[in-house]
Symmetry: D2
Subunit: 354 residues, 4 copies
């Protein structure tokens, strides 16, 4: 079975990663790629990795061909998805949204962090959250709806929330965290997007590490929502930038509640059990740690959990490719599930060994 798909915002980094994945996927036919800035141009003009391939040219966001697709992926900035998702859904087109517009269940929280009015709360109310290994029910329900012939919207988790939640959710859900949840995550530069800025300039990014967005990054409420700690002032999320292209390593330190202790073996079993049916999440053996290079270019995640401070703390680690498992790959994984395929169908799962 082959589904016709489109990508809005295909010229950005997440968008072009969707192009990479969809053109190599046996069950999706990439029919439309839009970019208001690049309409009329070839993808290979900007991304020479596609030179010589037979791909559609960029068209404008209002290309009516989008409505002839079975699914449309939205890789557009926040607020732009607010504009395009509702009409697509009304037109019967299933939407896989990579933007932040339908992630936060509470529109007030959205409006506070994104400083914009949420204009389609009805769509938001029915959106399925897209982080299949952690938020399991919503995507399953969306698949049933789709199977029943109705269009659905899946709102895929952000990059930092994906790495962080995969690392920390099993322990938090098991009651192993009290007080602060400290998230120090390191991202490669693709996370800063395609726009050429001082931040993304090679000569400023290379050979340096820095933290940014202290106490103010927009992924904060999303992580709180997934981890179930919204409104508790417990999350301290500090993103960092390091000189590599792809990858996020999220290091989450949990404070084990007074009176609670867990053995290392039990912690390991907790994680292995939680992800037992998740082919795309690898729980590493005790004593080994995730490396971003081990999952670069793939839709896989590596996680580990280790006791520290004589059992008073747990250090949870999660490594993903921010553009793939953290964005485009997860979106296609969600699309796979929605249309009834295996989660990893047609997706790259083996990184370059070196």
């Amino acid at each position: 079975m082959v589904f016709k798909v489109g990508v809005m915002g295909a010229a950005g980094f997440a968008g072009v990663e969707l192009v990479r994945l969809l053109t190599q996927h046996p069950n999706f036919e990439l029919a439309v790629v839009t970019s208001d800035a690049d309409a009329g141009k070839a993808i290979a003009d900007t991304y020479p990795a596609f030179t010589g391939m037979d791909l559609p040219l960029f068209t404008n966001h209002d290309d009516p061909a989008l409505f002839e697709c079975d699914l449309v992926f939205l890789a557009v900035p926040h607020t732009v998805a607010l504009k395009y998702a509702p009409p697509l859904l009304e037109g019967g087109v299933t939407v896989i949204d990579l933007s932040a517009d339908y992630r936060l269940k509470d529109p007030d929280v959205y409006e506070k962090w994104y400083a914009t009015k949420h204009t389609s709360v009805d769509v938001l109310a029915n959106a399925a959250f897209g982080l299949p290994e952690v938020v399991r029910g919503e995507i399953a329900a969306a698949a049933e709806t789709f199977a029943a012939g109705k269009a659905v919207l899946v709102s895929c988790a952000g990059c930092y929330p994906t790495a962080t939640s995969l690392a920390a959710f099993p322990a938090i859900q098991a009651g192993l965290s009290a007080g602060l949840v400290v998230v120090d995550a390191v991202s490669g530069v693709t996370g800063a997007g395609k726009k050429a800025t001082a931040r993304t300039h090679y000569c400023f990014a290379d050979e340096s590490v820095e933290a940014y967005g202290l106490a103010s990054h927009r992924h904060t409420p999303e992580i709180e929502q997934i981890l179930g700690i919204s409104g508790q002032d417990r999350l301290v999320f500090t993103p960092h930038l390091a000189p590599l292209k792809r990858g996020i390593l999220s290091t989450v330190t949990l404070s084990v509640p007074e009176g609670v202790r867990i053995a290392p073996e039990a912690l390991q079993e907790l994680y292995e059990g939680f992800y037992a049916d998740c082919p795309l999440v690898q729980v590493l053996p005790a004593g080994t740690s995730p490396k971003t290079a081990s999952v670069a270019g793939t839709v896989k995640a590596q996680v580990s959990a280790t006791l520290a401070a004589n059992g008073r703390a747990i250090v949870c680690l999660g490594a993903i490719d921010n553009l793939c498992k953290g964005a485009a790959g997860q979106a296609v994984q969600c699309a796979n599930i929605v249309v009834g395929l295996a989660p990893d169908a047609g997706l790259p799962t083996v990184a370059l060994p070196v």
Copy 2:
């Protein structure tokens, strides 16, 4: 005034950084460089940045010329300093030790973490700790002893402890921390040393971020000692490796005690006050964050402190060059103080702007 100095272990990364600094320092004359593995060779053979310079050849560690020096820097592995420091001191030579052998005040703690017997506890008892901006009294006392004509031993702080303590000490000393002290620090690859291993191989280190040494890194007890939290099971120290040559960024998250709150301005003032007389530590203005590239190649540190989690947490950041302020630069800074010079005398303080 010019002092004759030697460097033991000059072929390693910290040792060769000492060579760089000492050959450009107007008050030190580099007379002896030792390396058992490279004896007889020229420094430029391994480090072509020195090609064409008139430098001493490597000699063996037992070169008697060391005893004709005013000061000797020990850039040797731990346990090796245990062997060489006592005779030098007895010979009247002041020792600036970059190894871990005299850092931990409690020899039992040393023996536990380094799995070796401490064979000169008398020297340890009189060693001055070398992190001048934080541990202020010991180095000052050492300078007085030296001025009185006696040899002293300064045991310089490690790279991670330096970045971490500069970031977190003012807040912890002010009573702004309860419960866990979470340290996630990122180091460049020079921190892994000169030895060619799988870890330092370009193709394994490049384009990847990973954590290592979870709950087991030897800098743990040293950080606890400096921060005054030894034996409390509060420190969670997770070092990380990122693809750059020089630099450590230490991100320290403190949990503000229940019932304690501090205004952002007061936090800023606390830090600016604490480092008011420290020319080599820059407290960044609120809203800006340290970057390792801003201090690379220099003996400077940049720090900042920011409230998070609605005032329940403080994120302290410290950036240094691990080889310079975190090793050789701090050692020369300590030597400067001991011999009566300004702390920053003859040291590089301006990084490459780009």
Copy 3:
């Protein structure tokens, strides 16, 4: 149709790239991987990208299971292939050799450049050279032999010769070169192999460019042989090392013979015509240049040819992934052809766009 294959020397960089390619290829079943140094260990212990995959463990080079394979890839150092190829062939196993042992048609040249006796000149005499887009007849003949039920040996071209010959062969064959053939090629660090050395240490390779092997690199006679200029003292081959993992860019400058002139359009047509039936070689449009990142991780090559010096010179550029098209990918391409598959069957052809 599925062929059983083995990889000797699977722990090295070319070997592990073979593992990556073969485990994802629908027509090859990877049955044996050997490494004398790592026998008994899992591939994922050294290359965590394979964590969680069901792969054979390393065995010794003398594993008899190799003789049950249809094809064996030799990713061993030169001289080691001399030892293992003949018995495999005698045992009816087709050999795809990535070493240098059977590349040079003249055993005297081999002995001069590799300082070792060639011990199987009979095998050498029948070896097919493996650079299918340039040396077309030998691999085609090998396929016929294999189809007739006989084992063959394909000696795959080296990395620099591949990039260089793809760039320069059409122009040289067309008579557009007199005098020196100047090859300045830049390689990523994977080209230096897995061994941890001063050269491959991150801190020596990062942020630097250097030339090496001046007038003495062993790929010199191989390039001369492919280009048909052996024994003419015309080739000046200067390899360079740059700070990236994968990729070779070969820049070949030809001196157009006196009295010969070619129009830019004719030069472009010459190249497009030459590679018209080669799906893995892209001749770039005039005005664009190959980038190594555009082919990283793939078996593709990008080439271009441009007139310079007012028509007196031609600058030919060729970009490949040194481990893939320059080693393992080309080997599988050759295996594809030998067993009757399309050259690009089962091979990655789309690089990460960013």
Copy 4:
């Protein structure tokens, strides 16, 4: 003796490198830094390496304080120097120009390559070319003029011409070149300037090597002029971009004339003799090759010359820091000479060893 100096265009990469060098130079007082785009801002806002230093704020290019300087460095784009240099000279201010506006002795050549009218050919006629180790007479004459109380203009060589000429000039001057002069040079990304573009975006520049500007780079006529081969259609200059910040390695291959042969020792002596009195140019011993990292951050150059193709060719290598010896460092070196100081006075000459 201290001279008051200004830098026009101080916000660009060459300009800010001038700021770095001049603020650490004991004989120059940096009084004025101009940038039309950044007027009113602090240098540290863009370049945090200067945080905490007491530096002048950016002013506009028409800041009258420039006329109170003894020397003004022009680090502005070409054509902008044409506008500002003449009035400064008339005002008695010596100009050290880093732009291309006064490099080409023949204004017709300038107009052809820069597509703009040369509006001050009288200034051009008196300009001293600034590449002191190669073009020796002009800068010496300028120093005499300055000593006589008159303002002079020094037009500093470009980055590629500097690395290339230092490498190749001694051999060419000695008659060791006929036919093509093939220059393949590799530059770090600082060479592309401060502007954030697709080319300088970390994610496009990292992990890739490419050639650019084939047969069309504007440094072509400048190299021809210095090497004395203008109008001969002999130069083939192919610049490349590699993933590092600072550094140019220029590989120049010369075709030794028929009938001419030189022994390796004689070639080495030729180079050592040519640079005998040049403290900033190191001729490397035979068998070793320049590395850009060995001169990064310094005003030094490393060169070597090696016979190839059985004596029919010479491979000349030159490594510099493109921003320092290739721009700002050479400019200060020229200023040193003009005002009567040693060429290397106050300049950094020792690179980071690692």
